[in-house]
């Protein structure tokens, strides 16, 4: 992962303090060649305990901040760690390459797959290039092109979802943002190969779903998935973006919420302290979960797969018939 400044969220401050004490002790010990492991061990136990406690009691808005954490692993970090043989494929063959979405052939556990995901930038420069992970229509069109490529060679599609949303700008609208998303949904519904989606960070509305219509949907423990950002929701409903905590609560956007609403099939446990505290561990967990999901779809004929996929989405929603 590219170097990023160590950032601590407000609720992580106690961890930061403890970590600093441990580090200082270690440094002191090495300078004076002292053995302080016995002193450090309880501090580290305390640190782990504190992490567990903090992460077990995150509010929905704190969860949103973890999902947006600047050191959280992104799509390419997971591809690096959980996949092999990645060959990136670029361009929609219509207009340009959109760096906010990456994709290409890769192997998962030796098996060829097409992996596609939103890609955020690690620093300002990369973020400008990748538009903070907010795709233009050409990004979605590239994604669809790669899905059809996978379909032709009977490879499963794996998508990693991590976007604040589809980009709301002039060019994006001009080139048909809505059409691009609508087309992806329609074609994913009929794709004759397995699709497994994993929400790894921010699942921002239609811009996320455009890669998310799948046979199995996984969600990382601290990821979020929502129809609108808490800030946007608060601004519309209460004319005050400052009410984002209230909106985050109301929107039911955490992995556990989505699981109980039947929208995601499986929650992927993150390492203690969130994926950003241990990207390796997070990638291992995600890789295992993806393998399991692919295995569960093995041997299902394409027609059956499409039928099951349709039935799954047709069940979604809550209403009553009076």
């Amino acid at each position: 992962m590219a170097a990023a400044p160590i950032v601590h969220l407000d609720f992580e401050k106690p961890l930061e303090e403890l970590q600093r004490q441990i580090d200082r002790l270690r440094q002191l010990a090495s300078e004076r060649q002292l053995d302080v492991e016995r002193e450090i061990a309880p501090l580290e136990r305390k640190l782990a305990e504190l992490k567990r406690e903090i992460y077990a009691n995150l509010t929905p808005m704190q969860r949103v901040l973890v999902a947006r954490h600047p050191r959280r692993p992104y799509t390419l970090d997971y591809i690096d760690r959980a996949f092999s043989d990645f060959v990136e494929l670029k361009g929609d063959r219509l207009y340009r390459d959109d760096p906010a979405i990456v994709g290409g052939w890769a192997r998962l556990d030796g098996r060829p797959v097409m992996v596609i995901g939103h890609q955020k930038g690690r620093d300002t420069k990369e973020n400008l290039r990748r538009n903070f992970g907010m795709p233009h229509p050409e990004g979605y069109r590239k994604a669809l092109r790669l899905m059809h490529l996978a379909e032709r060679f009977r490879a499963p599609v794996i998508t990693l979802i991590d976007t604040p949303g589809a980009y709301p700008g002039l060019g994006a609208e001009e080139r048909g943002q809505a059409e691009a998303i609508a087309r992806n949904l329609e074609h994913m519904a009929a794709l004759r190969t397995p699709i497994v989606a994993a929400v790894i960070g921010e699942g921002g509305s239609g811009g996320a779903l455009a890669l998310g219509l799948a046979d199995r949907v996984l969600m990382m423990e601290n990821a979020i998935y929502s129809v609108i950002s808490p800030e946007g929701c608060a601004a519309i409903l209460w004319k005050d973006a400052g009410q984002k905590e209230r909106a985050a609560e109301a929107l039911k956007l955490t992995a556990r919420d989505l699981y109980s609403l039947g929208v995601v099939d499986e929650i992927v446990r993150e390492p203690l302290g969130g994926a950003h505290s241990d990207p390796e561990g997070a990638a291992r967990a995600l890789g295992e979960a993806l393998k399991g999901a692919l295995k569960s779809l093995e041997g299902i004929a394409p027609e059956e797969l499409i039928k099951l996929r349709a039935e799954k989405y047709l069940r979604m929603g809550r209403y009553i018939e009076s």
């Binding site: 329609e186 519904a189 779903l209 519309i236 929107l251 989505l258």
Partner: protein, 285 residues
């Protein structure tokens, strides 16, 4: 004392002076043109002067797009619940039921147009901004299924700000749900005509509204993914004149035709007959 005296005559009351009662007049919301209400009415609320399309109720589209007396409402008993326990949602729904109607944000049913059977769904912007929650999604899915089973064309008139926030991610999933059905219609060659009216944005534009075999739009309708306000906020400047209008989308290749409301029925009927391989209306059928 004045050397002349004004002749005092009782004033005629305003009512007597006007031959036409004041409520017979109507004024265009856009250009300010004043004309007989009846003329607006006959023109389907399109200004006779400037062509501005005033919003009309879902029922009016039903009258417009089906033969008289042929429409039968379907799935009118579907009701929104409050799956997330979202604060204020129940009250808003109750108010909308009272003020707009129990058809929710979509009036669905079947009927005939120039004698050809069709399934028709009309979104109602007056019901919570035409937002798509579970009920709208289910109605679209059921209408599409009915079209599939009976091989009858589907026509949907959209007017929506997008997915309904108060049903959270379940609203988002209605985009997937409706797309699944539209994919099946395409697979089976059942015509789907999508008519876009002002406004069609967000989750509705990014799903079935832009998945039509043929996509028509009313003049001046705002159509896009993000609403104009959000875009303005993002780019920090005013939007170009006419941005995201039906005409703009036509120019950019996103819709097939911009059709004035008075011609919608004719165009829709012609398309349906062409796509089903039927003779023109009135040609001996």
């Amino acid at each position: 004392m004045a050397w002349f005296r004004k002749e005092r005559r009782p004033r005629t009351s305003a009512r007597e002076r006007l031959e036409i009662p004041p409520d017979a007049w109507d004024k265009c919301d856009d250009c300010g043109h004043v004309d007989l209400r009846e003329k607006f009415e006959r023109n389907f609320q399109v200004c006779p002067q400037c062509g501005y399309h005033r919003r009309i109720a879902a029922r009016r589209y039903v009258e417009l797009l089906t033969d008289p007396g042929s429409f039968v409402e379907l799935f009118g008993n579907l009701r929104s619940t409050d799956p997330l326990g979202f604060e204020g949602y129940r009250e808003r729904i109750e108010t909308a039921y009272r003020q707009v109607g129990t058809h929710e944000a979509m009036l669905a049913g079947y009927g005939t147009l120039t004698g050809v059977e069709l399934n028709l769904g009309v979104m109602d912007f007056a019901f919570m901004g035409g937002s798509m929650g579970s009920v709208v999604g289910e109605k679209v899915a059921r209408l599409a299924r009915r079209s599939l089973e009976r091989r009858v064309p589907l026509v949907i008139v959209s007017a929506s700000g997008g997915a309904r926030m108060q049903e959270g991610v379940l609203s988002l999933m209605q985009m997937a749900k409706t797309s699944v059905m539209m994919a099946q219609l395409k697979e089976n060659g059942v015509p789907f005509i999508s008519i876009l009216t002002n406004p069609t944005t967000g989750g509705v534009s990014a799903s079935y509204a832009l998945q039509g075999d043929v996509i028509l739009a009313e003049p001046g309708a705002v159509i896009g993914f993000a609403g104009p306000r959000v875009i303005k906020q993002t780019i920090g400047q005013d939007l170009p004149e006419g941005f995201q209008t039906a005409e703009f989308l036509l120019e950019h290749g996103m819709v097939d035709a911009v059709v004035p409301r008075p011609q919608l029925a004719y165009t829709t009927a012609a398309l349906i007959r062409l796509m089903l391989g039927l003779p023109p209306a009135g040609a001996g059928d």
